[in-house]
Amino acid sequence: MKLNVKVRRYDPESGKPPYWATYEVPAEPMDSALSLLLHIKWHLDGTLTFRKSCAHGICGSDAMQINGENKLACSVLVQDLVKGDGDTISFAPLPGSPVIKDLVIDQTRFFEKYRAVMPWLINDTPPPERERLQSPEEHAIIEDATKCIMCGACTHSCPSTWADPDYLGPAAMLKAYRYTFDSRDAGSAQRLPIVDSKDGLWKCYTIFNCVQACPKEIDITRWLSALKRKAVTAQY
């Protein structure tokens, strides 16, 4: 079938304001959305710019706004986006960060927030000879959160981040959860004050856009709520 692919284009170098370009692209129902973009880049217009790498939803390069919602282009199929021939699919950069070019956003701030939450295991006791033990139950508490690929689909879908760019956002706080709730970690005292602040947990209004957007189907809100409860109880 043939699809109309609408792409939000912007090249600051050109001095032109952002605009929508439309391309006619042949597609099969089982094609990924990424393959539409690749077709444009390779055969129609080499200047179209976007990030991509693994092409199967594990590297987190190609999160973008597709048909008005944040998704990973390589992990969503044409058949889930359109009904049939001649339909339109729209691609825009993730909302809420500066655009570098076309679908490429500047992720500096996104990763600053990640770094802010001390995203590493904190445990100053000397490690044992072998692995630290962790029961399957303890592991299960963090397993969902360890699936995160840091694609940014969640943080850039959160109205709270759009409103206040300083809000740490779901991705960073999920990392905080992942380490704080790791049975091997002893860093709550350092990490909790960072998320328990005006930029942190309390700006999550349980909007669930993040969960809806997450390509790894992580129940982010659930883990953020757990972190909120921990932050509250830690006050006493």
Binding site: M30, T47, K52, I58, L121, R132, H139, T146
Partner: protein, 580 residues
Amino acid sequence: MTFSHDIVIVGAGGAGLMAALYAREGGADVAVVSKLHPLRSHTGAAQGGIGAALGNEEEDHWLWHAFDTVKGSDYIGDQDAIEIMCQDAPRTIVELEHYGVPFSRNKQGKISQRRFGGHTRNFGEAPVRRACHAADRTGHTILHTLYDQCVKNHVRFYDEFQVLDLLMTPDGETCGVVAYEILTGEIHTFHAKIVCFATGGYGRAFKTTSNAHAGTGDGMAIVLRKGLPLEDMEFVQFHPTGLYRLGILITEGARGEGGILRNNEGERFMERYAPTVKDLAPRDLVSQCIYKEIREGRGINGKEYVHLDMTHVGEDVLLHKLPEITVFSRTYMGIDPVKQPIPVAPTCHYAMGGIPTDHDGRVERAQRGSTVPGLYAVGECACVSVHGANRLGTNSLVDLVVFGRRAGIRMAQEIQDRRNEPKPLLPDDPQKPTRDLLDAILSRTEGEPVVAVRTDLQQTMMDNVSVFRNEETLTQALADLKALRERARRVVVRDKGKRFNTELMDAVEIGFMVDYAEAIAAGAKYRTESRGAHSREDYPQRDDEHWLKHTLFYSDGQGGYEFGDKKVIITRFQPKERKY
């Protein structure tokens, strides 16, 4: 701009980050330059596991692991290096655990282990549980944890800087690299005492591959262009179970958890070829068997694929131990592996060959001991050689972390030793060749687009240099590559801007691809025997008399090349016929 650091590591996958972390912990000033953001590296795609004789599930011994690796390599892996790797693996993985990698756990709370192809108990008796894993996202959790640790330790990252050239003094000492900053289109010089390549694999030279779009083998080509050799490039691993047509990987862990390969008659054909380990035979063998089945007309519906049957292992195992591949099958094939078999075919997966190094990651220009001062390589782009003619599943991640760690420690030591020396002087105008290269591409207005050349390259490699090869196909491939080299030099890009010009980088990469593709095809033509993943139809036997050796490929970058040999090191295990 010129950036100055003790150590510059090119590539931020598992190997690069491991080296960076240990070098940093050793006190050096480390910069990591990567064309992708580190978390986008392809190590994240590694699914099934990382092998180590931890013995958490059942008795295991590093020597058994070493034996399996040697046998898997078809006796061409260097046994001293293999011993180091297998001995170092358990402790390295325990260190990873201490760094926070969220491994799956067994009932006792230890790291959970599972079966994998070619890994056996007591020198080949029966499959053993050796693959430590985090469900089927092992590489992903390792990559993320290593990045977290590097951030903690203030490793300096230069994200989205693509390295295009290696800088050496006239005496052959390494002094830095030249990189293109994708965001701004600026060319930068990195001045360093040590450069370490960790740029990963080259799977994108083939049409069907499990590798990322970024897997264009840049590091190998850059080193080759400096007159340094590539080792054993003819050994290209085809993973038996890629999703049909897409090449997306279905981990061997699927068979480790009980999955079975079946042909169009529903027959479990691996029983015929490898009676002891059956579906858990090593990859070279399984891929060849699948192709044989297909050639003999037993592909499903007469097409070029077979079935991976997981229907009997149960929904529970699929959802908890193999969640990712369950999702892949559902998303990309519209198939529910709980109820239906998965269509699979071999997919280009891994580069056994690469930049020759010693046990500490130091690059060698010819025979053992001929190290290039200040140059290191680790990970898939390097060839230690622990994988020989065929890598066992889970051994790549082991290779990354063990030799990444060793290289990191060694580099920090070297910086210590050389702390009073100044950095070797940069050549005059170090950026000139790179600038000329880019200017030439940008100023061209007539020519083919990159995609045309790349598609033809991938097609010829797939048709002529994949699982089965012979004189004729390889001659064809080399002829094609000759033409492709010319075409690659004349590609034209439409994007002339400075800002995030990925098309320009595509144009540079196609040049790299031709260079190392030639190494692969030429090496395959040169080696007139069948060994491991290198299967010559016209020379179906292994020939230890002539070919129990490594090949070193040198190129002049213009289509002229020559070969050198390197001895294989044998310590404990004498070459034997390889039967499973």
